[in-house]
Symmetry: C2
Subunit: 203 residues, 2 copies
Amino acid sequence: MNTQHHKKNTTKQKILKAATALFSEYGYKGTSVRKIASEIGIKQSALYNHFKNKENIFLEVSKDIFTTPFSFDDEEIKQNALKGKAFISKFAQQYKLLTFDKNSEKMFRLLMIELLQNRELREQFMSEFHDKNVKILAEGFFIMMQNSLVRSGDPMIMAYEFISTLFYIRLQVTLLRFDSKSTDMLSTQFEKHVDYFWESIKV
Amino acid sequence: MNTQHHKKNTTKQKILKAATALFSEYGYKGTSVRKIASEIGIKQSALYNHFKNKENIFLEVSKDIFTTPFSFDDEEIKQNALKGKAFISKFAQQYKLLTFDKNSEKMFRLLMIELLQNRELREQFMSEFHDKNVKILAEGFFIMMQNSLVRSGDPMIMAYEFISTLFYIRLQVTLLRFDSKSTDMLSTQFEKHVDYFWESIKV
DNA sequence: ATTATATATGAACAGTTGTTAATTTAAACT
DNA sequence: AGTTTAAATTAACAACTGTTCATATATAAT
């Protein structure tokens, strides 16, 4: 038990926690090292015992942005796709969980704040957030087509249509929650999307 | 001819132009008044003869974010909706034009950069960018349903589905262009979306 | 107890930030 | 001409930035 996962409350962990909260609210430039330090009751110079510099703090924080809880391996996709609607429903449900999960929400905010300021994040957004999900969904739709569960067409386009709405809902929810506004109007939007979408593709 | 529209090349106009370019690339905090001034060859203190402060420059620049070129009045919606696919096609086409228009692109980037840093922008995003468009589209779909041009359903949901994909495409295009990457893969995405969507709703 | 190691502090650094004031330069009006 | 008005410059301000370094204070190992 020397791997320090979960979560020795070391100064380093406290720094990361405070930095996460601040970066995901004010962005990289809007967060000063003094602010991070004062948040956990130390002076800014003490940070440099734990991190080389501000950027390294950010890098460690932003590592978590793309550690997605969905893991669909090829076999799983095949199994689930045969169930038709349940496949996209499960996918959307996991997406919804991420949307309302506290830590994932922070990571998503951070991503949105820094998306146009950080080239690497943009590239990861494209590959991890977009391409990866489109691929999973497209494979699912392809299998559904083979089994005549959905009308035929370009599975990539279908996947694109499906994911884009999920993303849009997530963005809206994130913005509302950022202002502590009610998300009641959107609370069933994920489900409505699944229902609508399935109606539009089922054979 | 004393209204100074179009575009007396005054210092004030030059400031706004330079500020627009900088804000839409580096954001509000990432743009200094010295940088704006040097861009047009004056000292920073001279800015204060034309604007009260930095924030006022930003406010004047960001005014243009929501001046949308689409204007669909109620009569126009009615007329166009009766044409079915041509309605959504026209809508998407105008959205595409905005996406690739140089100035609109800057405004959209600025919006995305500041979305989580500026509460008023968030609210305008919701009302001007989302609600307004959903309303127009939902009215169109409602009329189409009445005339049995599309399958029946909730026109608001239909509108939501349609607009969310347009937004997602625009975001992707904007990110690619920001890095001077090719948007070839997305160049026909708007049209594909219209085709796919129409297929999925037409009766 | 003594040494070694890890972590904290206070002070200072060199830059940058937005903004103001006094002053000079340029343009417009009488 | 001279006088008023507008727009530029130089200089400075106080506050804040990330980072370094010498020093002090704990904790752990011998």
